[in-house]
């Protein structure tokens, strides 16, 4: 063991109570930092998982038609390009051609055309406005988590009947629908009869209270849309590829294409602000602990002035003295981070088992947490930087002491 470390360890005991308070602050600061990050990041990750499972990673929607025009003087070769606005033609008219073209993008793992519309659901002598989604079951399950969102009935029953229907949980509750019930859907003035094959729940309130899924041929008849699709929903190798890929697809295929990050920008910003806000708030505990550490070390330097002088007289350099005090900070922060991370892991585990019913933007019956080693690294880095800065100034003060002046002052 180096002499500086040995002396640092012994000096730590000089202000046990104050040092223990600083240590406790660091432990709590690190633990709370990690727990709040695990919680906010957990909810964010779960929201993203939910939203990707419902609306996919990328959607190709309306066709873009440029209205750029060229004006030229008659009889002259001189022409001026005039930048016009773009025009959006709703839907994907040639869904098959677009889907085939997507094979040129290796990042795309699945694509499914969807027809979206409005229809009134009639059952039990009541009417309810819904948004029917016509899907091709075989491909749609590759671009969504619909199968795992089923809470009653079965996907098999939906697949077996061309006039089967999957309704959102809020619709089922509102209209008192059970699996097997017969309902009418009125989309284009001609009501058609469907049978409820399953009930789904995404946890996203707006989806659960207005969406129903039909087979693609059924919705074409219902809405009188014999061709095309409202949009094509895509699944990618990695959700993070979406922002870069969407503009490329838009450019290549001439259809408005939106990545999930752009589509859910508002909620993602809310989560981001929450995460940063909680990190800043909890960091104040660490900052206050750092302040406590600073005070404690300053007191130790004052207490140990004569000891520092005698160490200098016997051959310890200014750097050695500085190291002794920096090491005291280092020991406390190492211990604080270790205990804090252990407490954080325990707290995160406990939190993830606390029952809480959440519905609205996703569905969960307990706290959602994200186990991310970077939360621990971030907490450790913040604590280390704060404590080392807090230790630096007392250590510099200790190193600057003139041993001769101190000893003569003590002797006189």
């Amino acid at each position: 063991m180096s002499p500086a470390l040995l002396i640092a360890l012994r000096f730590l005991g000089a202000r046990k109570r104050a040092m223990l308070m600083s240590l406790t602050g660091i432990v709590f600061g690190v633990a709370f930092f990690v727990i709040t990050q695990a919680q906010t990041a957990g909810f964010e990750a779960y929201f993203i998982k939910t939203i990707l499972g419902v609306n996919g990673m990328v959607r190709i929607e309306d066709r873009i038609q440029s209205t750029r025009a060229m004006t030229a003087t008659e009889g002259s070769s001189f022409a001026i390009a005039v930048e016009g606005s773009v025009k959006y033609i709703p839907g994907v008219q040639h869904a098959k051609a677009v889907t085939d073209a997507l094979k040129g993008f290796p990042e795309v793992t699945a694509a499914s055309p969807v027809i979206r519309g409005n229809a009134t659901l009639i059952a039990n002598f009541r009417e309810y406005d819904t948004k029917p989604y016509g899907i091709d079951l075989g491909t749609f399950l590759n671009v969504s988590d619909l199968e795992t969102q089923i809470i009653d009935g079965s996907m098999k029953a939906f697949g077996e009947s061309p006039y089967a229907l999957i309704v959102g949980s809020r619709i089922a509750k509102r209209m008192n629908l059970q699996v097997g019930d017969s309902v009418l859907l009125d989309g284009a003035g001609e009501p058609q009869r469907f049978r409820v094959a399953a009930v789904f729940e995404t946890g996203i309130d707006q989806v659960d209270r207005e969406r129903v899924y039909l087979h693609l041929p059924a919705i074409r008849t219902l809405l009188n849309k014999p061709t095309g699709a409202s949009f094509i929903q895509l699944n990618l190798l990695d959700p993070e590829l979406a922002p870069a890929l969407a503009p490329r697809i838009q450019e290549a295929l001439g259809h408005s294409t939106m990545a999930w990050q752009e589509r859910e920008k508002t909620w993602l910003q809310v989560f981001s602000v929450l995460r940063i806000s909680s990190a800043l708030t909890i960091s104040t505990i660490i900052f206050i602990s750092g302040l406590g550490m600073f005070n404690t070390l300053v007191m130790i330097v004052v207490d140990k002035t004569r000891e520092i002088a005698i160490l200098r007289s016997m051959g310890y350099t200014r750097a050695d003295i500085s190291r002794i005090f920096m090491l005291q900070g280092g020991i406390v922060v190492a211990l604080g981070v270790t205990l804090g991370c252990a407490a954080a892991a325990l707290g995160t585990y406990t939190l993830s088992h606390i029952p809480i019913r959440i519905r609205g933007i996703f569905a969960s019956d307990h706290f959602v947490v994200l186990w991310d080693p970077w939360h621990y690294v971030a907490a450790a880095v913040i604590a280390t930087v704060v404590v080392l800065i807090a230790s630096y100034f007392p250590s510099r003060r200790a190193a600057r002491l003139e041993p001769g002046a101190v000893i003569r002052g003590s002797s006189s």
């Binding site: 000096f11 200098r312 016997m314 200014r318």
Partner: protein, 224 residues
């Protein structure tokens, strides 16, 4: 070659109106195996001289030779290294580190020098404590020793790296007569037996006269 040579040493202390010429051209040499006392009234420059020789202060002019090395213009780290290897200090107060045992206090200079193994350092520190009559109290903390015992631990600590020069500033000033006598005898015997030089500042004329040589100081100069 002499152990220490001081040539035309000058030092001013204080600032502005309080500035005084504390040392006015002091020169002398120190030989190994001999004991020296610096005697004089308060304010004569005794302690100023001792701290300059101990490289704890920097002279305004003049030179201090430790062996064949001129030290007055060395960097702080270089002067510190010279102190660690060639000098041992005994002050009026023992200045033991209270969190360490007597043995550990004696080992501190050795740890810094870093030439011995942990076991060798322990053995040597125990020997030194034995030599100062504290062989049975090596594990005691400084606070568990009497004033005289603490000062003897400080002497053992000063001898830890076998320095050629032991500098003592009123080493008995805080002790009763019996303990003062014992501590001086210890320092003197060790210096003679080990071939180390002892340079001691003392107000006590009786102790000063028991040294091999006495430098009498007055108004910053050594009297002939």
């Amino acid at each position: 070659m002499s152990l220490l040579r001081v040539e035309d040493l000058h030092r001013h202390l204080g600032e502005g109106d309080t500035r005084c010429h504390a040392l006015r051209g002091v020169s002398f040499t120190i030989e190994p195996g001999r004991t020296y006392a610096i005697a004089g009234h308060s304010g004569s420059g005794k302690s100023t001289l001792l701290y300059l020789i101990g490289l704890l202060d920097i002279p305004d002019a003049g030179s201090i030779w430790v062996g064949d090395r001129e030290t007055s213009r060395l960097t702080d780290d270089e002067r510190t290294a010279v102190r660690n290897e060639h000098m041992g200090f005994v002050f009026q107060f023992h200045f033991l580190l209270k969190e360490f045992t007597a043995l550990e206090n004696v080992m501190l200079p050795m740890r810094k020098l870093g030439r011995l193994s942990e076991e060798a350092m322990r053995a040597k520190a125990a020997d030194l404590l034995g030599a100062v009559g504290l062989g049975d109290k090596t594990r005691r903390l400084g606070t568990q020793l009497s004033g005289g015992e603490q000062q003897r631990v400080a002497i053992a600590r000063a001898l830890a790296n076998d320095p050629g020069l032991i500098l003592a500033d009123e080493p008995t000033g805080n002790l009763d007569h019996a303990n003062a006598d014992r501590v001086f005898a210890l320092l003197s015997d060790i210096a003679h037996q080990r071939g180390q030089a002892l340079l001691m500042v003392s107000h006590n004329p009786e102790l000063a006269h028991r040294c091999d040589h006495v430098f009498r100081m007055q108004d910053g100069v050594i009297l002939p």
